[in-house]
């Protein structure tokens, strides 16, 4: 199994009377088997939108969805349990035709691809029912490491939003889901809700031609996962965990996902990991104030890897009257605080732009350009440039573009939570 390690970055020194402790925890997995192969079962479910709109664009969308699904099937490792679901106002199991899941081998892969070729686009869109269908399929493999790819090209209009929310909540902890929106007629917020709750990613695939590569990459990544990880946080009596969020590779608020794991201890699921990756988490704890000269533990950070607890990393609080110590800025904490502000600025700027509030949009998107430029988020700067003309990136002076492609605005929105890591090698 891969080795997991947690490293804490913080300024542990607090001025007299201060009670807020910030820390960035880097979790790194190394030395994995590479090919995946977890100890238990692995499940891969591919869910594609087969609603009427998928027949649009002269049939290019549904053809692309079929080809992408077949590419994903070819990427599934032998022995993995899998299924294909077609989604309209209800879910239909495209493959297997028998109850439950199929075990991947040359024969089942071929049969699955033949079934996918028969998929036609007709009907509505009810994403919640698709998710529940995946959960139902997974009953055949309890405890398996399960992953789904969900593709839609439209809004969730064949069921109520409450239905979708109920389905999302039911599926939390049952499987992970990467959500992809094809074209520009889907809602970023809907798919983001699905992906965030189900510990996956969300992205736009503007052109059907790009879908096959995307599905292959998502499946390959899922096949590389070998361990399920939770972040286990101990915080002292009388303290309050203000937030715990993933900050790299993208921003995800984990605060509401905590499960109590004993007195003063809470587990936050981090999903399945490959044996070779690294992610950063920012946590903020409010603790009872100590006297100058006191030292307290603000948090113990443990990792639970496939139910086995790993040694802890410590988040400390030391009260001092030395301002030289307490006013130090921890570079990691400052960097990710900036990255969160960047995501907020983009989101608020785009909302203002949609509402016709050009003034707010200009200010917010200008600030976003400035923050992205400072932090070296070159991808984000590039995405912003599709929406604004940048006059001075350092000052954050921008003008809103008159003509903006929907796909560009959506790409900026959906990718606004992607972060860059801190630039190393500074003094």
């Amino acid at each position: 199994m891969a080795d997991f390690a947690a490293e804490v970055f913080q300024n542990e020194y607090l001025s007299q009377g201060s009670d807020v402790v910030d820390a960035v925890v880097t979790v790194t997995a190394t030395g994995g088997r590479g090919a995946g192969a977890p100890t238990g079962e692995t499940v891969e479910v591919i869910v594609i939108d087969t609603s009427g709109s998928m027949a649009g664009d002269r049939g290019r969308k549904i053809v692309a969805a079929r080809e992408a699904t077949k590419a994903a099937i070819d990427t599934i490792r032998d022995g993995v349990l899998f299924a294909v679901v077609g989604g309209t106002q209800q879910a239909r199991i495209v493959y297997p035709s028998t109850v439950g899941l199929a075990r991947a081998d040359a024969e089942t892969r071929l049969a699955a691809k033949q079934a996918v070729d028969k998929v036609r686009a007709k009907g509505g869109t009810a994403i919640g029912s698709w998710l529940l269908a995946v959960a139902k399929l997974l009953e055949a493999a309890p405890g398996a490491m399960a992953h789904a790819i969900l593709l839609t090209d439209g809004k969730n209009e064949s069921e109520s939003d409450a239905n979708l929310q109920t389905a999302i909540e039911y599926c939390m902890g049952r499987f992970q889901c990467d959500a992809r929106g094809l074209g520009t007629d889907w809602k970023v917020d809907e798919l983001r809700r699905v992906a965030s709750a189900l510990l996956g990613t969300v992205d736009i695939v503007p052109d059907p031609d790009e879908l096959e590569a995307e599905f292959r990459a998502l499946t390959r990544s899922a096949m590389g996962r070998e361990a399920r990880v939770s972040l286990r946080l101990w915080t002292p009596k009388g303290s309050q965990l203000e937030f715990v969020r993933q900050v790299s590779p993208s921003l995800e608020d984990l605060t509401p996902m905590g499960n109590p794991a004993g007195e003063l201890v809470t587990d936050y699921p981090l999903g399945a990991w490959s044996g070779d990756e690294s992610r950063d988490y920012h946590l903020r704890v409010r603790i009872p104030v100590g006297d100058v000269g006191d030292e307290r533990l603000a948090a113990r950070v443990m990792l639970v890897v496939d139910d086995a607890e790993q040694p802890a990393a410590l988040v400390r609080a030391v009260w001092t009257d030395d301002e030289g110590l307490s006013t130090r800025i921890n570079a990691e904490v400052a960097h990710y605080t900036g990255q969160a502000e960047l995501a907020d600025a983009i989101h608020e700027g785009l909302v203002a732009r949609d509402q016709g509030d050009e003034r707010t949009a200009t200010v917010k998107l200008g600030r976003a350009v400035q923050l992205a430029h400072e932090a070296g988020n070159h991808d984000t700067v590039r995405l912003l440039q599709a929406v604004v003309d940048v006059e001075d990136p350092e000052a954050g002076t921008v003008r809103l573009k008159r003509e903006v492609k929907d796909a560009d605005a959506m790409a900026l929105d959906v990718r606004s939570t992607r972060t860059v890591r801190i630039k190393k090698g500074r003094s």
Partner: protein
């Protein structure tokens, strides 16, 4: 070489009081081998939660860090006694003391970790241990005290470099150093050789009390340059900043070494600024009633208490030794547990 340390668990040789490593075989010593009191097994000092609710030295209910042996430590080696304390305003003790009554010589070392650097507590202990080991070794082979002090500073520097993690992102651990060798001088007097870097001090408390070191600090250098008065210098924003130290970023880690000859067998007092900042003048220090107590450990512990009562703004370390036996010979005060 004598010392109160227990036998090394690896080779069985007697170890130096407070040492982290065995001088004979280099094995790492646990607190047990130091003969240090073990603070574990006590309920939380802050919330009273039971001892089994602790991990990594912290209470697992309120999170309070539990005291360590180094927070308040008293040690005796023959004619030398030392006390070190965390003080009232710092979260850990970054001062370290190491000393040995080697029969022919008294060797005393104090290092004060620079608290704005990483792992300053480990740096100061490693430096003090390394310096003491080198001094005892060199002197036992008949080496010259001045030469031994230079070599001791070099090994201390090496020991601190081992702690530096090589990361440019965090401040390199560093510390001061003051090391004293006291040997029998001409006509029953005392020969004292002092080497130092930074603002930890050595005093001669004999017939004519004298401060033996001159601080390597911004304040002291301003005064020495004749630019300002001592009072003005103390108000300088960087008055307390030291100008020489031991550590990876040390500009000049060569100790300043001075030799002294005294006609009597007075006491040598070595201390960190946690003490002398409350009695900066030698006459003031010499006049402290604590120094009139019979036992040297009482004297050292008394001065630590005085510094704490005066505010305890920094870690405090005091080591007192003399070639003369303790006034009440053979009745060393018991070591507090």
């Amino acid at each position: 070489m004598t010392g109160v340390g227990g036998p090394c668990p690896a080779c069985g040789e007697t170890t130096v009081a407070g040492a982290s490593f065995c001088e004979a075989c280099g094995a790492e010593l646990g607190d047990e081998a130091h003969g240090l009191p073990d603070a574990a097994g006590a309920p939380c000092v802050s919330c009273g939660a039971p001892a089994d609710h602790q991990s990594d030295g912290y209470c697992l209910e309120c999170g309070h860090k539990q005291p360590t042996a180094r927070d308040d430590l008293h040690l005796v080696s023959g004619r030398i006694a030392g006390a070190t304390h965390r003080g009232r305003r710092h979260h850990r003790n970054e001062d370290a003391m190491a000393f040995a009554d080697a029969g022919d010589h008294l060797v005393m070392v104090i290092c004060d970790g620079v608290s704005t650097t990483d792992s300053a507590d480990r740096a100061s202990q490693a430096a003090a241990d390394a310096a003491l080991a080198t001094l005892v070794d060199q002197l036992s082979q008949g080496g010259d005290a001045e030469q031994a002090l230079q070599e001791a500073t070099a090994t201390a520097q090496g020991a601190v470099l081992c702690i530096s993690n090589g990361s440019a992102e965090r401040a390199n651990p560093s510390c001061t150093l003051v090391a004293v060798v006291a040997s029998p001088g001409d006509g029953g007097g005392t020969a004292v050789t002092v080497g130092w870097l930074g603002d930890s001090r050595a005093y001669w408390l004999g017939e004519t009390p004298e401060q033996l070191t001159r601080d390597h600090s911004v304040a002291a250098e301003l005064v020495a340059a004749g630019e300002v008065s001592e009072a003005e210098a103390r108000r300088h924003p960087r008055a307390a900043s030291i100008t020489r130290w031991i550590g990876a970023d040390a500009v000049d880690p060569q100790a300043q070494v001075e030799r002294f000859q005294f006609a009597d067998q007075g006491r040598v007092l070595v201390c960190s600024d946690g003490l002398w900042s409350y009695a900066p003048d030698v006459a003031e220090l010499r006049g402290r009633p604590e120094l009139a107590r019979p036992g040297r450990l009482d004297q050292a512990a008394g001065l630590v208490a005085f510094a704490n009562e005066s505010g305890g703004h920094d870690n405090i370390t005091v080591v007192i030794g003399s070639l003369a036996p303790e006034p009440e010979a053979g009745s060393d005060p018991p070591r507090p547990s």
